[in-house]
Amino acid sequence: MTALAWLIPVALFLGLLGLAAFLWSLRSGQFDDLEGAAWRALEDEDEPD
């Protein structure tokens, strides 16, 4: 049972980490244009602007 004492906090921490990452990506607008993102992945960005 002692394993639980650190397993549960670790599990919760990882879960919260995932949640935080999602909320951050949402806030930074990564879900604003899903269609555009799909296309942008195909674009070569290596030409000098």
């Binding site: 949640l19 999602f22 949402l26 555009g36 602007d49």
Partner: protein, 730 residues
């Protein structure tokens, strides 16, 4: 990105220009941005301009957000640059800008938080159940319960807010809505679990409350996303409606300003081929005006000094200047849209399927829950037991089929329509389209392509065709354009010649060494003929050739009409055009039920009469159709339609094919079938589970699991729509 600074002052004044380098951000709606290549050229075009710091295109929203320095370039420069690259763009109207996207995002945040909480609480719950019969001691179990409470309480308080707020508002207005039993179930389950936890009881139901919340939020978010997208499309169209205008200032200088910013009294120059940006009286210039937008008649009207021009009409032959008498919200165009929004209010009375079901459902849920509680008390049960069973009933009956499955079906249907180039503009339009059982078409521009075709191309000699075409190149009259097109396809190219003069209302002429050559109306060329559907060419030698025109049907028009007949949808043709033109087009399309000429008021009267027996789908494109579109049960217009008409329509279809009409009908009716199937699934599930729950065989946790299963089932059913192919519908 903030768009508050967007452009209520689209006109950049000198005061602005004098200000030192300042940054402004703005959203532009882009009409024809379809793929990754478009994104790139839009961004590159804008970034290449001096004074633009940042440009980021959004393909889903069909907009680009720009940060620029208003002292170096202004909105008009951005729009002009884009139009040179082939994109039609317009600044988003700051007044119409709302925070709908934020509402969307707010829901998604709540979905994420409740999803996280549901998963973690479930993790703890599963350990408790599997440990309960084995080696888990009471201390560990109680520790797990407290941990669950720690996760659940803030989650319920945060993620449950939309339901609590809506329920509170409903109760305050002395009504019941679906959010009342939902809130009741969540709050009771959470409160009851807290109580059980402190009395160290074995059962707590935090998992039930949070899972329920997660699924319901998922449905709300899908529903909201559909609305946001539909409204976004509608607002893009609204912005694209008003373009730019060239103002001539008192010192003779020309300045491009947004049509929104025009004021009465100003002098505006309209080049040939441009739309008139406001209502006004002509100061100078003679030209032909295409008033199709107002009258539905494609034949142009000649105008000269002192005549009145209306916003939205198209200047065809020569530049004109006019004085603005009414601009922006005061134009005839705006008045008509005002009339339309009044007509639309009648339609707003339409209640969505889910809302109608909820009206019956909500009281039933409360009665069942209360009956369970009272029943168990009456049979001598403990109040805790009675309340637990009542909560189970509330959770079981939670309307997931209503709250999740119907939005899921609609989102699937809307994205299926988007893929076919059909834009959904009102969230409830799909349901109304599924109800429709009669189709009324407009003729010009709807059943037909709205541009003429040359009938007697083969009967015209090559010499005359070439000569007529080189005159016609100078004009933007629809007949002239058709002549040029016919010459291009037959002769390969059309020569440009100097000295062509356009005489408004008559035609084109040119002095040659041998005399004058003319292309224009029969009278102008010295022919006695009344037909308005022809042009004549008179060579310098005096030889005359007729060019006869007719309208071209849209591709698939005949097939679409056949299909509609087969399905029992009518169809009917109502047109403002001459009787003969209407009859011949009706014959070609295979429509027996045609009426013409009818004016807009008669169209509405006809629709009103028909709507007593039928739910009507109106398909139209002209401004004269706009009130009829608003009057009909559901409406559709092609993307080539007058902008204001697109505003009135529930659906806008891109491309030339009329088959979009049957495709939209097919998808809408399939969506309705799926929604009804989902109701069926939900009903079956309730009939089995509710009696069990009332009898006390279901704990709140089992109820939550059963409810989740039914939610997943109905959602999976909804997603089937994405693979739906139209054409198999019989």
């Amino acid at each position: 990105m903030s768009v508050q600074t967007a452009i209520s002052d689209a006109r950049v004044t000198t005061a602005d220009e004098s200000r030192a380098s300042e940054e402004r951000s703005l959203s532009l709606a882009i009409e024809n941005m379809h793929c990754g290549g478009c994104i790139r050229s839009v961004e590159k075009t804008l970034l290449a301009l001096r004074g633009v710091f940042h440009a980021r295109a959004n393909l889903s929203a069909k907009r680009v957000s720009v940060r620029y320095d208003p002292s170096i370039c202004d909105v008009e420069d951005l729009v002009e640059a884009l139009s040179r690259s082939g994109f039609r763009a317009a600044p988003m109207d700051a007044r119409a800008e709302t925070d709908k996207v934020d509402v969307d995002r707010e829901y998604l945040k709540r979905v994420a938080v409740s999803g996280f909480a549901a998963a973690n609480i479930m993790l703890l719950s599963v350990s408790v159940w599997s440990g309960a019969g084995g080696d888990m001691d009471d201390t560990t179990q109680s520790f797990f319960h407290r941990l669950s409470a720690l996760i659940a309480l803030p989650t319920v308080a945060y993620a449950g807010q939309p339901f609590f707020q809506s329920a509170f508002e409903a109760l305050r207005a002395k009504r019941l809505n679906m959010d009342v039993p939902i809130s009741l179930a969540i709050i009771l389950a959470t409160a009851m679990s807290c109580f059980q936890m402190f009395t160290d009881s074995e059962q707590v139901y935090f998992d039930a409350a949070v899972t329920l919340l997660f699924f319901l939020l998922l449905g709300r978010w899908l529903d909201q996303r559909l609305r946001t997208r539909a409204q976004g499309e509608a607002r893009n169209l609204l912005s694209l409606q008003s373009g730019l205008a060239t103002v001539v200032t008192s010192d003779g200088k020309q300045k491009r300003v947004s049509a929104h910013a025009l004021e009465p009294g100003e002098t505006v120059l309209v080049a040939a081929g441009e739309r008139v940006p406001a209502d006004g009286t002509i100061l100078s210039g003679k030209s032909d005006i295409d008033q199709g937008l107002i009258t539905g008649e494609s034949a142009p009207v000649a105008i000269a000094g002192g005549d009145v021009v209306y916003s939205g009409t198209l200047n065809l032959s020569n530049p004109i200047t006019f004085q603005v008498t009414a601009a922006d919200d005061m134009t005839l165009l705006a008045e008509i849209s005002e009339l339309m929004s009044k007509a639309e209010q009648g339609r707003a009375a339409y209640r969505r399927l889910a809302d109608r079901a909820a009206r019956i459902y909500a009281p039933a849920v409360h009665i069942l829950g209360a009956a369970t509680f009272a029943g168990w008390l009456a049979f001598g049960a403990d109040w805790e037991v009675a309340l637990t069973h009542a909560i189970a009933v509330l959770i079981i009956t939670c309307p997931c089929a209503l709250a999740l499955a119907v939005p899921a079906v609609q989102v699937a249907a809307a994205s299926r329509l988007f893929r076919s180039g059909i834009i959904l503009k009102a969230a409830d339009a799909l349901e109304r389209l599924a109800d429709a059982d009669w189709v009324v078409f407009d003729k010009t521009g709807t059943l037909t392509l709205g541009r003429p075709v040359l009938l007697n191309a083969d009967g015209i000699s090559e010499n005359h065709l070439a000569a007529a075409a080189s005159l016609a190149v100078a004009s933007s009259h629809p007949y002239a354009k058709t002549v040029v097109q016919a010459a291009r396809s037959r002769l390969g190219s059309v020569g440009m010649i100097e000295g062509v003069e356009e005489v408004a209302g008559e035609g084109l002429k040119r002095e040659t060494a041998n005399g004058e050559e003319r292309l224009g109306s029969p009278r102008w060329c010295g022919v006695k003929e009344k037909s308005s559907a022809s042009l004549w060419y008179r060579a310098p030698t005096g030889e005359k050739t007729a060019f006869r025109f007719s309208e071209a049907l849209r591709p698939e028009a005949r097939e679409t009409v056949q299909q509609l007949k087969h399905l029992g949808f009518g169809p009917t043709l109502l047109s403002g055009d001459r009787e003969q033109a209407v009859k011949s087009m009706a014959d070609k399309a295979g429509i027996e039920d045609w009426h013409g000429p009818v004016n807009p008021a008669e169209k509405i009267a006809d629709l009103k009469r028909r709507s007593r027996e039928h739910k009507i789908l109106m398909v139209g494109d002209g401004l004269n159709d706009a009130p009829a579109l608003a009057e009909a049960h559901v409406s559709m217009s092609p993307a080539t339609a007058a902008d204001i008409t697109q505003r009135a329509a529930d659906f806008v279809f891109q491309g030339e094919k009329l088959g979009s009409v049957t495709e939209a009908i097919g998808i809408a009716s399939k969506a309705k079938t799926l929604a009804l199937q989902n109701f069926g699934i939900a009903l079956t599930y309730n009939t089995i589970c509710v009696p069990l729950a009332m009898a006390g065989y279901v704990t709140p946790l089992v109820a939550a699991l059963a409810m989740s299963t039914s939610s997943i089932l109905v959602t999976a059913n909804a997603v089937r729509l994405s693979g739906f192919h139209v054409g198999v519908r019989k």
